[in-house]
């Protein structure tokens, strides 16, 4: 893609962005085929923050994520990563897709390597790194399988491993667990949470329509209401990490937080 934003050194990052935010979404508007999808969304994400964006279907939350990824032309506003405008996809951002987005003609291993390969970042230690990722994501035993031989949960493990392989500064997850069964979903949530809590330099944005998932994973939950999409509510989640589905549900603040988000989603639906 032409116009890829050049990656600045990490030291230049701090001064370029006020308040030390990693991602700054400013007044973003998106219009697609005559429809106003997003209407003036502003949002800041701090370094190593995990933000969950929650909203009902058709509310524009996926559009917001694609705008942050540089995949969509904005009709207004701007997206900055470390103070650098994002106008096209950049190797510093990686995305996990709702329907996995795996290449059916590539094996698990070559799918995981994909990002490194297209970004020309294959080095001597690539094989080792991919091996380590495959082990972490429990994929080592099926490294030579094709996607059609895998269950939905395993496919999304590949999708997550592929995104992590490029060591992104910003990880975008678009309803990553909505196409897998409930048990697998809970396992994957825990795995991603664990990976997340161990890695210090990745910032995350996750789209979901599941309130419990948002509370479990997020430092902060943003409710998008629409169309046209706008921010209805932002709430911090002050439940200590490491979290688990159980520790979150038994936390004293949980019922009220859930109610708040539920109400915001409901009222947001009919603005």
């Amino acid at each position: 893609m032409p116009g890829t934003v050049p990656a600045p050194g990490p030291e230049s990052a701090g001064d370029a962005s006020p308040h030390g935010s990693k991602v700054r979404v400013e007044n973003v508007a998106v219009r697609l085929g005559g429809n106003q999808i997003l209407d003036g969304i502003s949002l800041e994400v701090a370094p190593h923050e995990f933000v969950c964006i929650i909203g009902t279907s058709g509310g524009g939350k996926t559009t917001l994520l694609r705008s942050v990824a540089g995949l969509l032309p904005l009709s207004g506003g701007s997206v900055h990563l470390d103070g650098e405008p994002v106008v096209a996809p950049t190797p510093r951002i990686a995305m996990v897709f709702q329907h996995f987005g795996l290449f059916p003609w590539k094996t698990v291993r070559t799918n995981v390597e994909y990002g490194l390969r297209v970004q020309g970042r294959v080095a001597d230690d690539t094989g080792e790194r991919v091996d380590r990722l495959l082990r972490i994501m429990n994929l080592a035993h099926c490294a030579d399988h094709y996607p059609h031989q895998l269950s939905g949960g395993m496919k999304q493990r590949v999708g997550i491993a592929r995104a992590l392989a490029v060591e992104p500064e910003l990880l975008l997850l678009d309803e990553p667990f909505s196409a897998v069964d409930a048990i697998t979903r809970e396992l994957l949530q825990n795995e991603v949470l664990e990976l997340w809590e161990r890695s210090a330099d990745t910032t995350g944005m996750l789209i979901t329509h599941d309130i419990d998932e948002a509370i479990l994973m997020a430092d902060r939950v943003v409710v998008i209401a629409g169309p046209p999409g706008r921010i209805a509510l932002e709430v911090p989640v002050d439940i200590p990490r490491p979290r688990s589905a159980r520790s979150v549900r038994t936390h004293p603040g949980y019922p009220q937080l859930r109610d708040t988000l539920w109400n915001a989603l409901q009222t947001g639906e009919t603005p």
Binding site: P89, T90, F97, F103, Q119
Partner: protein
């Protein structure tokens, strides 16, 4: 078991043909045993191998040009909206026209020699390859294009990772259609030009009521068609290993 059943039908037809063929005038039907005898005759006098070589040259050269042109235009038109819109109407018109109808015109333009026949085969092959390739490229999964874009893939890499592999099954289908049509093309062209090749052998033997000798090139062409199609099916299985088999 499956092969026993398959082969037994062939055997049954051959036996019935032999019995009935012996009972009636050999000009009408001939019989497998006479055809086998005629085959050896025609191999011995060199007429079969000469005609076969002539047909194969036309078939191969015409197919190669047609496939190459079909792939090139198909890939380009699949990726470029403008080009595909530009060629759409003439392409559909030519594809809908039975190519056989063009043969007399092609003979007027290119004469009775191998050039005309090669052009006919090329035309027969071009359209199925072009149209299937174009469709394959167009039906690339939009979600996967977005995946490639999100990982900052260049357009050239996208061809390798995405466009060619996903178009491949369509291309192979196009090639399989093309092979059948190429055989039709070469034989019909040789009927019209009637100087060389297996088609010529069929016409001249039929005209002199040598029905046994007529069937030899016919069966040879059938064998050729079966072999080529089987080869392509084998190649398809090798190439499209990633596809779900169930």
């Amino acid at each position: 078991m499956r092969w026993t059943l398959r082969l037994s039908s062939v055997l049954l037809i051959a036996i019935a043909w032999e019995l009935y063929g012996r009972a009636i005038n050999p000009v009408l039907l001939s019989s497998p045993s006479r055809i086998i005898a005629a085959t050896f005759e025609m191999i011995a006098d060199g007429s079969l191998s000469k005609a076969f070589a002539e047909s194969m040259v036309v078939l191969c050269v015409g197919s190669l040009i047609g496939i190459a042109a079909g792939l090139a235009f198909g890939l380009a038109a699949g990726r470029s909206q403008a080009l595909s819109a530009f060629i759409e109407l003439p392409l559909n018109a030519l594809y809908a026209t039975p190519t056989v109808a063009l043969i007399p015109v092609i003979v007027v333009w290119f004469g009775f020699g191998p050039t005309a026949k090669t052009v006919v085969v090329m035309l027969f092959v071009l359209f199925p390859v072009l149209i299937n390739t174009m469709r394959g490229v167009k039906e690339v999964d939009r979600d996967l294009v977005e995946v490639a874009q999100s990982f900052c893939s260049k357009e050239s890499r996208m061809w390798i990772d995405l466009i060619l592999p996903s178009a491949l099954p369509y291309v192979v289908t196009g090639l399989r259609l093309a092979i059948g049509r190429a055989l039709i093309g070469v034989i019909v062209a040789e009927f019209f030009t009637a100087f060389a090749g297996l088609g010529n052998l069929i016409v001249t033997n039929a005209n002199s009521f040598r029905t046994d000798r007529t069937f030899v090139p016919i069966l040879l062409i059938a064998l050729l068609g079966i072999t080529l199609t089987a080869l392509l099916e084998w190649a398809e299985r090798r190439v499209v290993r990633w596809a779900a088999k169930d």
